[in-house]
Symmetry: C2
Subunit: 501 residues, 2 copies
C-alpha cells in the first residue's frame, strides 16, 4: 500500500482509493466504456475482472472501446460472461473472436487511427461514458502517467464523464517521460499534427485529466499478459532476406536514402522476424515509426542500429518485457509512445514517408489484400493499423508465406475473399518464394510478376492457367476475371479441405 | 499573333514560338510525357494532335502521365493511332478505354493525390522526360500561368528536362491569380501542408519554370472540350433530398455545424445534381474542397450560398464555361485552383473534415464499394480522387441509383465484383430509394440497413434471402457469405443479361 500512496501524488486523491469490486459497480448496463490498452500492454485488469464477476451474477452488457486488442483479463473475462454488446476497434482474444463470429457481439472493425476521432464525433452511438485507465502514477494535478501503451487513452479520458484509474504497481515508474500525449482538435478547428521527424515531441508526458474527473483509484499488481513470439523459422528468414535485398537495390537506384525511411512493422511473429533480420544487416541509423515496439526493435537498439523508435505500445515477449524493464534508462533515450491517432496518423505517415510492412492472410494476382477474414466470412483479428499505413506509406509491403495449412491453402489466389487493401495501395509482396514489385504496373502485368515471384510451385501453374483463361474469356479486359470461377479456390477449400484440384 | 506575343511576357522567349508540328518532333519514342489537364480542362491540344499525325506516319509509343482524364484531342487522338504504351492515373475517353480493355494500353489506376509523388519518387518507371503544358501566359521570368486546371502540372514541370508550353488564346487572362501553386518536398524533407481553411493561400499564382527550361512555345486556339451534363432527373433529385435531410438531422444531433463542413463532390452528372440540390436548400455559407468545380458550384455561388470553393479544375458544361468566363471577376473572389496533391491531400481532407460525396458503380450489403469495374473485369474510368477523399473524410457518402440497365442490374449486390473502397471507409449510402447510415455498425447490422433503405424492391427479397442463408451457413460469422454464390448475381448477368432469377 505504501507504493500506491507514493504513486498517487495528490494526497487528496488517497480517499478515492477503493477495491476493484467497489469501482466496478460504477459501470452500468449499456455504458460506452473507453479503456486504455493497445495489444496486451497497459490495459486495465483488476476492474474488468471484478466487473465480470458482477455480470456473472447479474447479467448485463456494455460497449467496450479500446486502443486495440487487450489481454484476457478484459476481453476474455467479459466475453465469457457475455458482457460485451459492441466492441471496437480491434481484438485478438479467442473467446471474444468466438463471440463476434456467432452473432453474440457486434464488432466494428475500424482503422486504428480513426477510432478515437469517431468516438469524439459521436459516430459510434453516443460518447464515452466512463474511462478505465491503467496508470504508473497520478500527478499532483490529477493528471495520469500511462504505462506500456498510449492507444486511445488520452481521448477517452478527455471525453469521459468520469475516470477509474488502475494504478499498476508492476509497471516501473521509469516509464514516466516516455509518452508524448497529444489529442488533435476536431474539424473545423483541427491544426496540422506537427510531427516532422520520428522523435519530435509535440505534447505532454502525462494525460490531462484533473482531480475532479477521477472517480476511483484501484491498486493493481497484475502484469501485462504479454506472449512469446514463435521462433524465427526458415520462411521468415527468407522473407526478411528478400526485403533487405530489395532495399539495397532501391538505395542503389537512388529511390531510398541509405538509412532507409522510417520503418513500420505490424504486430506479431512474422513482422517481428522481419525486423530482426535488420540486426544482422549493414543498415545503421534506422528509424521506426510504428504501432508496437516488439523484441525486434529492442534487438535493433541493442545492436546499435536504431536511431529512434516511435510507437503507441510496448508489446514484447515476456523475455523482451524483462529486458525493457531492466534497461529502461537506456531504451528511454531512443523510444517514445504516442497516441495511436498520431502513431498511425495518415498525415504523418505520408509526410515522413514510412516503409509499411504488414502481414496478409492472402493476396490476389492483381494485388488486392485480405488481412482479416478466413474464407471470406470468419473474422480473424481485424484490420488494425495496416490500412492507416498501407494507404499512406512511401512503400507498402505485404508479407505472407505462400501457402498455409501445410500446403492445402494457397495464400495467392485468383481473387481474395475479402478486401482490406485495394490494388491501388500495394507496392511490394513478399513470400518465402520471393518478392514481387508491382509499382506502376497494370493489373495484367502485376499478375505475372506476383505469380512468378511469390506463388508456391504447387499453385503457380493453376494461377497462370486461370489468368490465361480469364484473358481469353474477357478479350484482355483491364482486370481479367472469370467471375464464375474467381472464388472457386475458396469454395473448394470449404468443401474439400484443400484448394488443390 | 499579337495576342500570343502579349501573353509571352518575356520577349526573349518569342524566338521559341513554333508551330505544333515542329514542337511535336521533340517527343521521342518511349518518353514519359507529363501533361497538364484534369478532366477536359486545361490540357494541351495542338501538340498532341500534331504528335498523333507523326505517329500515324511513323508508329511509336509514349507514356502519358496527366492530372486525370483529358479531352479527345489528346487521349482520343493518341489512342486511335496506338501511340500510348502506359497511361496514368485516370481516363474517361472511349477509344482509350477500348485500348486498356483489350491489352493494347497498360493503365495503372492510381489515387489522384499520389500520382505526382509517385512520378517524383521514380516508381512509375523513370522520371518525367518532357512536360506539355497549357498556359494562359508566360511571365517575365519564364514562369507559367495555368488555365482551367492545376492537376499535376507543377510537379511535372519541376521534374521535366524541358517543357513545351501551349499558350491558349481562348483561355481568359482573368484566370491569372486564381491558382495557388505548391509542390511539397519529398520524404524525408516534407513539411506539413499548411492548408487549415479552404481558402488558405500557401503558394504562388504561377508554376515556377524559368526561361531556360522552356523548349518551345506553341499558340493554340482550341477551347476545352467540355461536355453537357445530363438533365437532372427524378432519381438524382431524390438522392439530393435524402442527403440534405440527413445533414439536417446531423446538425440537430450536434454532429455537424450549421453550415456543414467542406463539401467534396465527384465528377459527373449525379454529383453535379446533388450539389445543385443545395441551391434550393436553406444552407448558407457553404464551403467546398473538391477536385472539379462544375455547374452546381456556380449555381451555389450565384445563389449567394457559397462561401468559398477550392478545386483543381474548372469542369463545367459548355453553358457553365461561358458563365464562368463571362462573370470571372465575380467568381474569382470565391474560387481557387490547387495542385491535386493539395486539393486531394489526405492530410488536408482529414484535418478540415470534408464531407465526401462520390458515385459508386455498385456497393454490397456489407458496405464495400466498386467505383471502377463493370462485372469485375472491364475498366470503366478509374478510381480518380474518390479514394483520397473516402478514406479521410469526416463523412464518406456514396451515391448510385438502386438499379442499372432498366432494372436488369441491381447496384446493391451480395458481394461487389471489385473493391475500391472497403467496408472500413464507408459511412453513408444513398440511392433514390433512401439513405443507409452504417456508422459504427457490425457487418450483419450494416447489411440489414443497406438492404432495407437502399435496395430496389425487386431485389430486396433476393438480398435478404442471401443474407439469411449466409448467416445460417456460417452460423452468423462476422461477415456471412456463401462463397459459391457471392458473385453469382454478376455471373447470371454475364450469362443471361439480367441479375434477376
Amino acid at each position: 500500500m505504501i507504493d500506491i500512496l507514493d504513486r498517487v501524488r495528490n494526497t487528496e486523491l488517497h480517499s478515492k482509493i477503493v477495491t476493484a469490486d467497489v469501482a466496478a459497480q460504477a459501470i452500468k448496463p449499456n455504458m460506452n466504456v473507453g479503456i486504455s490498452g493497445f495489444t496486451p500492454a497497459g490495459y486495465p485488469k483488476a476492474v474488468p475482472m471484478a466487473l465480470a464477476k458482477i455480470m456473472k451474477e447479474t447479467p448485463f452488457k456494455i460497449n467496450i472501446w479500446s486502443g486495440a486488442s487487450v489481454g484476457d483479463e478484459c476481453d476474455g473475462e467479459l466475453a465469457r460472461v457475455n458482457g460485451i454488446h459492441h466492441r471496437i476497434p480491434y481484438q485478438t482474444n479467442g473467446d471474444l473472436r468466438k463471440g463476434l463470429n456467432s452473432g453474440q457481439i457486434e464488432y466494428c472493425d475500424l482503422h486504428l487511427s480513426e477510432s478515437a476521432q469517431l468516438s469524439r464525433y459521436g459516430f459510434l452511438g453516443g460518447k464515452v461514458d466512463i474511462a478505465i485507465v491503467e496508470a504508473c502514477a497520478i500527478t499532483e494535478n490529477g493528471d495520469i502517467i500511462p504505462t506500456t501503451s498510449m492507444g486511445n487513452t488520452a481521448s477517452y479520458v478527455q471525453s469521459a464523464d468520469f475516470v477509474i484509474v488502475e494504478v499498476n504497481t508492476t509497471q516501473p515508474l521509469a516509464l514516466e517521460g516516455m509518452h508524448d500525449v497529444y489529442v488533435p482538435l476536431d474539424p473545423p478547428n483541427r491544426q496540422p499534427i506537427p510531427v516532422v521527424k520520428v522523435n519530435d515531441r509535440i505534447g505532454t508526458p502525462y494525460i490531462p485529466c484533473g482531480v475532479d474527473k477521477i472517480k476511483y483509484i484501484v491498486p493493481c499488481d497484475i502484469g501485462d499478459d504479454v506472449r512469446p513470439f514463435k521462433p524465427i523459422d526458415e520462411d521468415s528468414k527468407k522473407m526478411s532476406e528478400h526485403i533487405i535485398n530489395f532495399f539495397r537495390e532501391e538505395i542503389k537506384a537512388g529511390r531510398l536514402p541509405k538509412n532507409l525511411l522510417p520503418l513500420q512493422s505490424g504486430v506479431g511473429s512474422v513482422a517481428n522476424a522481419v525486423i530482426s533480420g535488420f540486426v544482422d544487416s549493414d543498415f545503421t541509423d534506422l528509424e521506426v515509426y510504428t504501432e508496437v515496439i516488439q523484441d525486434g526493435m529492442l534487438d535493433l537498439a541493442d545492436a546499435g542500429k536504431l536511431k529512434f523508435a516511435s510507437g503507441t505500445s510496448f508489446s514484447p515477449s515476456p523475455d523482451g518485457l524483462k529486458r525493457l524493464y531492466d534497461n529502461i534508462d537506456e531504451y528511454r533515450t531512443k523510444m517514445m509512445l504516442r497516441p495511436q491517432e498520431v502513431a498511425n496518423s495518415p498525415e504523418v505517415a505520408r509526410r515522413i514517408g514510412i516503409i509499411a510492412m504488414n502481414t496478409a492472410i492472402e493476396f490476389d494476382i492483381y494485388g488486392n489484400v485480405n488481412s482479416t477474414h478466413i474464407m471470406g466470412s470468419k473474422m480473424m483479428n481485424g484490420i488494425g493499423g495496416s490500412g492507416d499505413f498501407a494507404r499512406n506509406a512511401y512503400l507498402t509491403c505485404f508479407f505472407t508465406t505462400s501457402t498455409a495449412k501445410g500446403g492445402l491453402i494457397s495464400s495467392i489466389v485468383p481473387m481474395v475473399s475479402h478486401v482490406d487493401h485495394t490494388e491501388h495501395d500495394t507496392d511490394i509482396f513478399v513470400t518465402e518464394q520471393g518478392l514481387a514489385d508491382v509499382r506502376g504496373l497494370s493489373p495484367r502485368e502485376r499478375a505475372r510478376v506476383i505469380i512468378e515471384n511469390c506463388a508456391h510451385p504447387d499453385y503457380k501453374p493453376m494461377l497462370l492457367d486461370y489468368l490465361e483463361r480469364a484473358e481469353a474469356a474477357t478479350k484482355k479486359a483491364h482486370t481479367p476475371h472469370i467471375i464464375e470461377e474467381a472464388l472457386s479456390w475458396h469454395d473448394r477449400f470449404i468443401k474439400t479441405g484443400s484448394m488443390k484440384k
